[in-house]
Symmetry: C2
Subunit: 341 residues, 2 copies
């Protein structure tokens, strides 16, 4: 095989405040020869997820990305060379890869690579039928324990996970209110996404709007943002409410693993016999096949839509992650750098 | 019936910071003639509970105590006159009464009065076999979901609820660590109460001690104090941990319904797929009889001890509630003002 040139974005600095383009460094280097047990993938598309800021900053549920190594991302690639049993040239694979043209890997399992069925759409595998959709599914159903008639409120509602969470709650018979930034996102929520109400946190008094739209209180609050909005929701929970902690994107930019604006209203969990529960999607790995089948069915029936915010070109990876953390994205943030062959 | 003189402590001011004696005002007044539907009780003993500061401050799960009205307390009294069906002179009753010699009531139910079996020990009814013991029982078993082998940590461990919670967790086969203030309390925990370990928060580095005593992390944390200790525990939870929010006495003195020092480490609930859940004991009212029977059995077997901190005399009520909020009490704080006749 001719020597391949690899373009790569390395992690140059741990983020301070908002992620900056200078946190990454562009390099070009030849791909090293493959060793036994390894596979070489040409990367096709990258997912952008709030949890990546944690990976850039520190050890969390997985070790921090080492400085000088490629930025880690959920991604889909196609094998161009394999010295590992069970993987062949042409196979589509998904896993935690790097912002680079080619990734060499020998890791399987939760944080390694998994094979995808032939013909899988890489963008679908990185959105509704991947971590994003699964996170919404288990957060809403397993952690949130939604039931028909519940008032379900979701923040980051126009984001990848939030929008799917709300649409799943609709499938389950909830009254669904979304909180998002800007009129266009809110119009999309109450229009195409079928939400019962939307609150524009950039232009509305969120507390007053929640009180008006949730007169009987909030039964399930699916939190993607943390901070003040989490507190406004906690102030309005009903008896026995479930607060699903999916993320806290408003907090990631400011703090190193602790909340800069922690939930002062957590006492309300006592007064209302309510719970606040976190989760990581891979805790539910054994139930993925059933969940993917159900999500695919709802998608084919038009009940759950898969809105993508698609950027193009490896050179734009840093700009694309910044879109996510400034709330510029509208739908699941993806970056495509190639097509399967 | 001859006119009875009633000595009363009225709520004079909403507490600012720590409760002060001047928040109460002593008065004496004749007891008003009884109306149809009312009962008149001579009060025998009062319970002192962290939740009383909430009642003094604002509307919570029940309306705030009106200024100028008697201070509200869980109490046991004996009926001296009844104009209400189902209640007779001599009956022992329990309920939310007032800091006064005589209380007139016409309310039944959760926040009213309930009859006690003849011969009931008023002090037992206000401690292990009353709200205190029931709170420990449902917090540990129903909310905490303790199971054999769990590492169980409780703060306010020498207090009324905390000590019983820890002893119940021992009955259920947990490894139990208590956090309390002072060597004497810690010695009592690891001695008479049978805890596996104790941490003196006044003289030890609580975080370091928790790390040492809980090498596999904390499976159930029963929180009575809130604040920094809650954060130190959250930093050390295991996967799937349950944080039981029973109270937050460190926070009640400073804030009006919001936490002055909220839990910054709540992100750990996400990383560990863990939950933080609050409760009020009366949510479990239907299960009281079974719980009381089990607590009484464990008490008779010597497995769960009932440590009381007994003060005497109505005139000492304000001093006694201050004992609770300064941590001076050791065991369940009670005040006795009379005996059944």
């Amino acid at each position: 095989m001719a020597e391949l040139k690899n373009r790569r974005w390395l992690l140059a600095a741990r983020p301070q405040g908002i992620i900056k383009e200078s946190d990454f460094k562009w390099t070009e280097a030849p791909v090293a020869p493959l060793k036994d047990g390894q596979v070489l993938m040409r990367n096709l598309a990258f997912s952008f997820d709030p949890t990546q800021r944690g990976w850039m900053s520190m050890d969390t549920y997985i070790p921090a990305i080492p400085l000088g190594q490629p930025m880690r991302a959920g991604a889909v690639g196609q094998i161009v060379e394999s010295k590992r049993n069970g993987f062949a040239k042409g196979d589509l694979v998904q896993g935690l890869l790097g912002w680079e043209d080619y990734t060499t890997s020998e890791a399987e399992g939760t944080f390694g690579i998994q094979k995808l069925a032939p013909g899988t759409d890489p963008l679908m595998a990185l959105s509704l039928l991947g971590t994003t959709g699964l996170t919404a599914y288990f957060g809403t159903i397993s952690v949130g324990q939604v039931k028909a008639g519940d008032t379900f409120v979701v923040s980051g509602a126009a984001g990848a996970t939030g929008s799917v969470a709300g649409m799943i709650a609709k499938v389950k018979g909830c009254r669904v209110i979304g909180i998002a930034g800007g009129r266009a996102k809110c119009d999309w929520l109450t229009g195409e996404a079928g939400f019962d109400g939307a609150i524009d946190y950039k232009n509305e008094d969120v507390g007053a709007a929640l009180s008006k739209l949730c007169p009987k209180g909030i039964d399930v609050y699916f939190d993607n943002v943390g901070g003040e909005i989490l507190d406004l929701a906690l102030a309005r929970i009903s008896n026995g409410a479930r607060v699903v902690l999916c993320g806290a994107i408003s907090q990631y930019n400011e703090a190193q693993g602790v909340a800069a604006r922690p939930p002062r209203n957590y006492f309300n969990l006592i007064f209302h016999g309510a719970r606040m529960e976190g989760f990581l999607v891979f805790h539910f790995a054994r139930q993925y096949p059933q969940a993917i089948a159900e999500l695919a069915k709802w998608h084919s029936e038009g009940k759950v839509k898969n809105k993508l915010d698609l950027q193009l070109g490896l050179e734009n990876a840093p700009k694309t992650i910044i879109r996510l953390f400034t709330g510029a994205n509208f739908g699941k943030q993806l970056l495509k750098i190639g097509d399967p062959q």
